[in-house]
């Protein structure tokens, strides 16, 4: 891939940015509703009494310094934290009104509806086609032509199709880092989740690959609710509609991105977004 092939997205951080004002999204219904959520790793408390809601079909960014609990909260949303020994969750976490922390919830079904993209791209050591087909077979899709169709659509959806259409059956590990990450996004959207969680999806990528991912996120929010954790303040400003700022396990402020970045209510938020600490 050469530089000339890439068109850098042009985003401005200002209140005139489309889709940034709170009013425009007021019609968006709350999708994920958190009430008094606390999370413990053994004895240490990673999240303290978090309450807020995430609206559907917008991009919500979690920002905050390292160790503030933003990734922990993200992983609560698809219960990936269940895999860690000795953790405990308190409080309520509802999606469409259903408490997903309840022990009766089938986490496997939950994760099919709440997809996830990780910090480091993690395609399976299989072919590009097989990476997506595996996810589909988990869903019970068996028909070959149907699989082929969804594979193509997902790759198009992740803006990867043109780059890989001639080598669908070669190993995914032969792709570049940015391509691998977009493959992971394609894999996540192939099974049509409602929500996509992204844990610093571009932090290991170069600026051009990052731009592509950001462009993709803006594209995806038409169909999906996206929650993204990021260390990159500009990134949060560029792509998110709402931003939640966390500090030491507490939710300090949550508002539209425009508000957080131009006129935050709390001093701590202002200090962080202007780079005075963190």
């Amino acid at each position: 891939m050469t530089v000339s092939e890439i068109t850098l997205p042009k985003f401005k951080v200002d209140s005139a940015r489309p889709g940034a004002s709170a009013e425009e999204h007021s019609s968006r219904a709350p999708l994920i509703d958190l009430k008094n959520l606390s999370f413990y790793y053994g004895r240490s408390q990673a999240l303290k009494d978090i309450s807020f809601f995430i609206r559907e079909k917008v991009v919500t960014a979690f920002i905050g310094p390292s160790g503030c609990g933003k990734s922990t909260l993200l992983r609560c949303l698809n219960r990936m934290n269940d895999l860690i020994d000795g953790v405990r969750v308190e409080g309520e976490m509802r999606i469409h009104g259903h408490d997903i922390n309840s022990p009766e919830v089938d986490v496997i079904e939950l994760r099919k509806r709440v997809g996830m993209v990780f910090q480091r791209s993690n395609p399976f050591p299989k072919s590009i086609h097989e990476n997506i087909a595996y996810a589909l077979r988990l869903q019970g899709v068996k028909d070959r032509s149907e699989i082929d169709g969804i594979v193509e659509n997902s790759l198009r959806g992740a803006a990867l199709w043109d780059e890989v259409k001639d080598r669908l059956h070669t190993s995914a590990l032969g792709l570049s880092g940015g391509q691998q990450q977009r493959l992971c996004i394609a894999r996540a959207i192939a099974i049509k989740p409602e929500i996509i969680l992204m844990d610093e999806p571009a932090s290991a990528l170069d600026p051009l690959a990052t731009a592509k991912i950001e462009e993709l996120v803006l594209d995806l929010k038409r169909d999906y609710t996206i929650v993204i954790v990021t260390h990159n303040m500009q990134q949060a400003a560029r792509i998110s509609d709402y931003t939640a700022f966390f500090y030491l396990g507490e939710l300090i402020e949550y508002d539209t991105t425009t508000k957080i970045f131009t006129n935050p209510a709390k001093k701590q938020t202002e200090d962080y977004v202007t780079g005075r600490f963190g």
Binding site: E109, R111, F118, P125, Y134, A135, L138, T170, S171, I191
Partner: protein, 390 residues
């Protein structure tokens, strides 16, 4: 200022001599290198020794025929010393150390022995020839051509086929029994087990490797043979099946240990990705982690094969040791290793029986070496495929 710079520049000279100032490290490094080199040299020496002892058979220089041309003592002078030495089957040093009388005596013994040669149509046969080692032959008393290993009968029958089949049968049973079990245990311990179970299971299974094989053989001989016979109701109590199961117990820890390492070293990110897509833990382990660990799992199986085919004590005790060619796993069987262990001590050093046993040893060596080599090639190919390089 200028002086200071020269000082700094001078200090750089020590860079060149840096490595000389650590002679101890250099010495230790060389020492370790020599030790590892000695391992290779040892393997080579052992193979050279085994090969040397077996060589006369391979080269067709052995003759086990009971009927040989006899030279009358009176014609002793007509022979050149070299011919005489070959006739008496002596080494040069031994031949040179003998005086004329002793040589004469030895020739008389040959003449005497010839008078007592067996009356058998097979008596003139050189049973160490390739044909008799690997092809069936209708020996006296047998209606049709058969594969017979009877090294101490009147006619020494050295057919290796029954032993090779015996070894392969016991090894096959051992692998069929142990690989699924060891692999299942490895998947469970590395992917599914809670931390406390893992802490107990891994050392417990690996402790199996510490059981002396003679104890396993004893257990197979006394307990397992009876129990299995009662369950399956076959005729001969000791057979390839019993020996194979006991052998399987011995190689489970080997296969488990390596397969578990291979599965554990698969990046956690694969499992996480699979789970985040809505796989169950079992699906993630079976469809994602196991395929990613296939090169290591394959290596585990190859190593298990090598251990199983080379194991001696268990098969010696539990297989029944009947050298018969049979397709049934419930027939008594005799392996290559057990044959060497049981017979080598009673052979004449340098005799044909002795050399044939070394030939068996060399065969075992070659088989395990070839298996490891082929295994390594396949492993590398699989690895490259997984890494997307091929």
């Amino acid at each position: 200022m200028n002086e200071k710079q020269t000082d700094a520049a001078r200090s750089w000279e020590s860079l060149r001599k840096g490595h000389q100032s650590r002679p101890l490290e250099w010495l230790v490094e060389r020492g370790i290198f020599l030790v590892s080199l000695s391992a290779i040299v040892m393997i080579f020496l052992i193979f050279a020794f085994v090969g040397r002892e077996a060589w006369p058979v391979v080269a067709g220089k052995m003759n086990s025929s009971s009927v040989q041309t006899v030279i009358p003592v009176a014609e002793m002078d007509k022979q050149s010393p070299a011919e005489l030495r070959a006739y008496l089957g002596l080494t040069k040093a031994k031949f040179d150390s003998m005086d004329l009388e002793t040589r004469k005596l030895m020739m008389e013994i040959k003449v005497e022995a010839d008078k007592e040669k067996p009356v058998d149509k097979d008596a003139p046969v050189n049973t160490t020839a390739w044909h008799y080692l690997f092809r069936p032959h209708a020996w006296t008393g047998y209606e049709k051509p058969s594969y017979i290993w009877q090294p101490i009968s009147l006619i020494h029958k050295y057919n290796l086929v029954p032993l090779i089949i015996g070894s392969l049968k016991a090894t096959l049973v051992a692998l069929l029994f142990s690989v699924p079990l060891a692999l299942a245990a490895a998947i469970y311990v590395s992917q599914l087990a809670p931390a406390w179970a893992k802490e107990w299971l891994k050392p417990a299974i690996e402790l199996l490797a510490g059981i002396p094989s003679v104890v396993l053989g004893f257990f197979a001989l006394i307990v397992m043979a009876t129990v299995l016979q009662n369950v399956f109701g076959y005729e001969s109590r000791l057979n390839a099946f019993v020996a194979g199961i006991a052998l399987g117990l011995a190689i489970i820890p080997v296969v488990f240990s390596i397969a578990e390492d291979a599965l554990t070293s698969v990046p956690r990110s694969y499992t996480q990705a699979a789970l985040a897509l809505g796989s169950s833990r079992w699906q993630a382990a079976w469809k994602i982690v196991l395929p990613a660990a296939i090169p290591g799992v394959f290596a585990a199986v190859v190593l298990g094969f090598g251990r199983a085919i080379g194991e001696t004590m268990i098969v010696l005790m539990a297989s029944g040791n009947a050298s018969i060619v049979s397709g049934s796993f419930f027939d008594s069987t005799r392996t290559m290793t057990a044959t060497i262990a049981a017979e080598l001590a009673e052979t004449v050093t340098g005799g044909h029986h002795y050399r044939i046993l070394f030939l068996i040893g060399a065969l075992l060596f070659i088989v395990t070496f070839a298996a490891n080599f082929a295994g390594d090639m396949v492993m590398h190919r699989l690895k490259r495929k997984l890494e997307g390089k091929a």
